[in-house]
Amino acid sequence: MPDFDVIVVGAGPAGSSAALVLARAGRKVCLVERGPFPGSKNMYGGVVYGRILDTLIPEWWKDAPIQRWVTRRATMLMTGTQALTVDFRTDAWAGPPYNGATAYRPDFDSWLAGRAVDAGATLVCDTVAKGLLREGDRPDGAIVGVRTDRPDGDLTAPLVIACDGVNSFLAKEAGLYGEVDPANYTVGVKETVALPREAIEQRFNVRDRDGVDFEILGCTQGIPGGGFLYTNLDTVAVGVVLKVPSLAAQSLRPEEIIARMKAHSAIAPLIEGGEVKEYSAHLIPEAGYDMIPELAGDGMLVAGDAAALCLAAGIWLEGVNFAIGSGIAAGEAATEALTRGDVSAAGLSGYRARLDANFVMKDHKKLRRAAHVIMGERNQLHYPQIACNIVEDMFRVENPDPKPGLRRIVQREVKRSGLRMRDLMRDARDGMRSFG
């Protein structure tokens, strides 16, 4: 007799959502977490989009440990000495059901895991799932649970859901990933900077629980990636995301790249005087649709970052919602498969079908080229420079010379960039297609 119906590895948003769905369906589910509490290993670039929680946990916003509700969203193009910002604000996101929220992952993930426990899931912390248990200890035997690093060791179940994060050793062990390409990954490096609440509200022009999310392009010293800055109640999170092989191939360290972004005149006054309260880093599966592994094997499903379902598509940077969405689908498909008594890959095909039918796979398919477009050299280096120069030329008054006119400014800046018009047109077309 197995110990459980399902073992979910990893009590992040994917794992806790899967466990919650299974527990509610009356299944005996074990949620294994390697940290001392859920979220203790987790860090992200900032915003939880909660719409996917509406049906799972009605009125979740009354209960969830949210720092601020994002009502102001700024996208900034930066060069060494310039910044051009599209700064959007809406009152619609300041009240229920809200849109985005900032939250500390150790808070948020602990809260969500708590909902799974309330529903009857067994949460086991301080425990690493070291590998898959197979029937008869044969490499080709059916999966029958996980080996852990506890003295009393093994946990058995006919089905394992791997929500073990971006490095997912379980999905790799199960052969669900092909060759791992480092170019598919970025590393996010972040400082949580403490500032008085009043200072944050004055500097970022927000009140009450309203918050700000800045996404920044052109702040990574030529390394493909981007920067972010967002407000918590009494801290500001500021950091960069850097393509791993490109970071490794040059000589600036991640903290130096953050330091340069923080020193920029568009950023420095916002965080001046703040004290670094916590430094952190985490990998991000950045390449989207093209790196998604096989999502189901015999006796196994993969969800969240473990399945590379993080959406890093330039102006859309989402992950927690994709983790929750995939976790819910995994929980439902697992329930179905257990009821039918068929946990083979074929029996678990409801998982992929669910993902294909909702935002998880539809957004990834639609935006499959977006990450590549954003990470391209012209988008990283040339376009922020061209855009900033055009605006600077537009607003610079050089009397007694007359204004040059917008068309001449654009022509001059494109020429100065050394880019070919053909490439510009192609990027414009790719951009429209990628984000369409």
Binding site: P65, E255, A263, H282
Partner: protein, 129 residues
């Protein structure tokens, strides 16, 4: 919990398992000049809670590192755990690891860095509010 909290000042460095050369370390890389008053790297790492496991979860093959001229791990590791030494090898520290995985992805020398998770309940612990 059996782990202890370490601060940046207490980090210890160890050799790759096959390395034999003398233990003269190069000076730690100094950050680029910046107008912004930066905290030292040690103070930066001292902001993070680590419950240090008794056993290292990173294993470095000293021979492989000795033959590596690019040493991607040195610049890429956000925690600056890998330090090049004069003889061409690498010293490393596992105690203040974010467990991100950047090192093994960045490494271009097959098999040089073996990486797993620290024992359950140990390693980095990001704080709740």
């Amino acid at each position: 919990m059996s782990g202890r909290r370490v601060t940046g000042a207490k980090r210890s460095l160890r050799r790759g398992k096959a390395a034999t050369a003398p233990a003269s370390t190069e000076a730690r890389r100094t950050p680029a000049a910046s107008a912004y008053p930066e905290v030292s790297f040690e103070d930066r790492m001292a902001t993070v809670d680590f419950r240090v496991a008794p056993d290292a979860h990173i294993v470095v093959d000293g021979d492989a590192c000795n033959g590596c001229t690019t040493k991607e791990c040195v610049v890429a590791c956000p925690a600056n755990l890998f330090v090049p030494v004069a003889d061409g090898g690498i010293l490393f520290n596992y105690e203040q690891c974010f467990e991100c995985g950047t090192c093994y992805l960045a490494c271009n020398t097959a098999g040089a860095i073996s990486w797993s998770y620290p024992e359950g309940g140990h390693g980095v612990v990001f704080r709740r509010s």
